[in-house]
Amino acid sequence: MEILSKVHARNLVEWAKNKPDVYVLSADLTSSTEVDLFRDTYPDRFLSMGIAEQNMISFAGGMAREGLYPFIHTFAVFIYRRAYDQIAISVAYPNLPVRMIGFLPGVTTPGGATHQSIEDISVMRSLPNMTILECGDATDVESVLDIAHSVNGPVYIRMLRGEIPRLFSPQDPMQFNQARTISRGSDITVLSSGICTEEAMCAIQALQREGVSIQHMHITTLKPFNDYKVLEAIANSHYGVITMENHSIIGGLGSIIAEQMAEFGIGKKLVRIGLKDTFIHGASRPYLMRKYRLDAPALIDEAGKLTGQNFNISEDELARSYVAPVHSDAKAEAL
């Protein structure tokens, strides 16, 4: 698997080259949110706003009213927690094209509870006019800006930074409101988002070797959510559906799917992998994923419970699973 570094940093500079109305607003986390290269390349389009996120959000609303496109860059928690009223009133109510790029989703930071965004999707999803996108790999990161920018209204992006795997072919960009189908199958449907998709791919390879037929889909548009293919996959799954997210199971992907299933009358079992209504603490990502059951073994366990089987998949075997970049609608054998 290819691992890339500072994907957003390079991509944003290239992407914004011929977009003079795109401005970056930063709250003292410029290199931490990978906009230092943007700042150095387009200093006139970079606005330093200091550690003052409430003002930054409302200020961005004012700029957007005048036809500019502010791209807010800071840690996710400092967007939706610190400045929720400002997002609601200065940005979401007037449906302004402010792009909020939130870094450090869930367990991706050892920064502890103050830095870990575990309920951002839940909170942002209840705001009218808000669009929510989440990245799970380098190709997502490279293609999310086009999608965000095509939205006539505010967009919140759960962004990744640093070393990021490429799970999907660069020729296969993120599509708005369309899940990526990674594998096809009929025993279980697995719906994963963000960094959980890499874990799911790893577990699913092992499960497939055990003979389980799995429909795996990667979700990038969390709001709006009306991809009928996802519902179709759930309806066609023999045992049911497992959602897997780096977020609280309340209000995120698991809740979204529960609502959709109830509304469409799809009577299947739903298992939600995610943070079980708990804060987490400062530690490494692998430790947190293991401790809070967001990783590949967690999926294998839940798949076992759902199908009534006891999979004997060793840690070594999981470690040997090689995740290669795929075209999102690739057949299982392409893995």
Binding site: Q54, F59, E66, L68, N129
Partner: protein, 304 residues
């Protein structure tokens, strides 16, 4: 050009009187209103519209349009109340009402300066209309959402930033109350305004010393306000908010490069309606306690 015969002071006095009279009338008829705000802010708002700001003209007094739904991707019909402030353009100034609790005062002003049809005031707080009690962006004279105190100045700063980047010569004028300076976001905003040298932004503060719970000193102190604002990088003037020449003087002085102008206008919240003083310190929203009190104000209204 203003003709030599034009006496702006007389016009401001007429409009300020009209604001107080219309808000009093409204308060008597509806048994409630933001009356003390009319008393304190009448001259400030009148002078901003008549003498300070360079606003485009409205063709005729406008009748407020009906509420057209909240903004959203699926609603192409939503609008803001900025149409009451004339056309937008690079040379024109913009007006932002920060404490939208002053909406009734603004509406009365718009009638007095011929921008809103008097019918608009009769739509105040009536279901389905835009002339809302605590104004929103669709309310006459308003263009941003400011009912959540603290957000007005930041939004105005964003507009000023964009206009500066675009090279507009028009300014952004913000009307503020004193109480809202208790909110941290305003200080964040002023910090950013200074840092980004937004000298195309100016603020008039109605310092009436009142807030919802009562006198400001009994709720939360903000003094020394002038010193604090100066320390944050503003060019600050503190004047008598009912003295027309003093209210205008700060804008006649040369701009200090990079510094926003702030005029703290000390005002009297019962100015022109002295019996209001009897209600001190509960002045934020006037609802008559007895029918007798209401009659007292009705008599006063007739005498005006």
């Amino acid at each position: 050009m203003i003709s030599p015969q034009y006496n702006w002071q007389e016009e401001v006095k007429r409009v300020a009187y009209g604001i107080r009279r219309r808000v009093l009338e409204h308060t008597v008829i509806n048994n409630g209103g933001y009356l003390s705000q009319a008393c304190s802010a009448a001259e400030i708002l009148a002078i901003m519209y008549i003498r300070i700001m360079n606003l485009g003209k409205t063709e005729e007094p406008l009748v407020p349009p009906l509420f057209a739904g909240v903004p959203g991707q699926k609603n192409p019909n939503s609008f803001t109340g900025a149409i009451f402030n004339g056309p937008k353009g690079p040379k024109y100034d913009r007006f932002i009402l920060s404490p939208s609790q002053y909406a009734l005062v603004l509406y009365a002003l718009l009638v007095e300066v011929g921008r809103m049809d008097p019918e608009g005031l009769r739509q105040f707080n009536v279901d389905g209309y835009t002339v809302e009690m605590i104004g929103a962006e669709h309310s006459p004279g308003m263009e941003v959402m400011t009912g959540s105190l603290g957000q007005g100045l930041s939004q105005a700063a964003g507009i000023a930033m964009a206009r500066k980047l675009r090279g507009d010569t028009g300014k952004v004028w913000v009307f503020m109350s004193d109480g809202e300076w208790q909110s941290g976001q305003n200080w964040e905003a002023l910090q950013a305004i200074s840092y980004h040298n937004l000298d195309n932004l100016g603020i008039y503060i109605d310092a009436n010393g009142q807030q919802c719970d009562g006198a400001m000193g009994d709720v939360m102190n903000i003094e020394p306000l002038a010193d604090r604002l100066t320390a944050f990088g503003a060019r600050v003037h503190r004047v008598d908010g009912h003295d027309l020449d003093m209210l205008v003087k700060p804008i006649l002085e040369p701009i200090q490069q990079g510094k926003p102008l702030i005029v703290i206008a000390d005002t009297n919240p019962w100015k022109g309606i002295e019996i209001l003083k009897e209600r001190y310190p509960k002045l934020h929203y006037v609802r008559f306690l007895t029918e007798q009190e209401r009659e007292q104000y009705a008599v006063l209204l007739k005498s005006l």
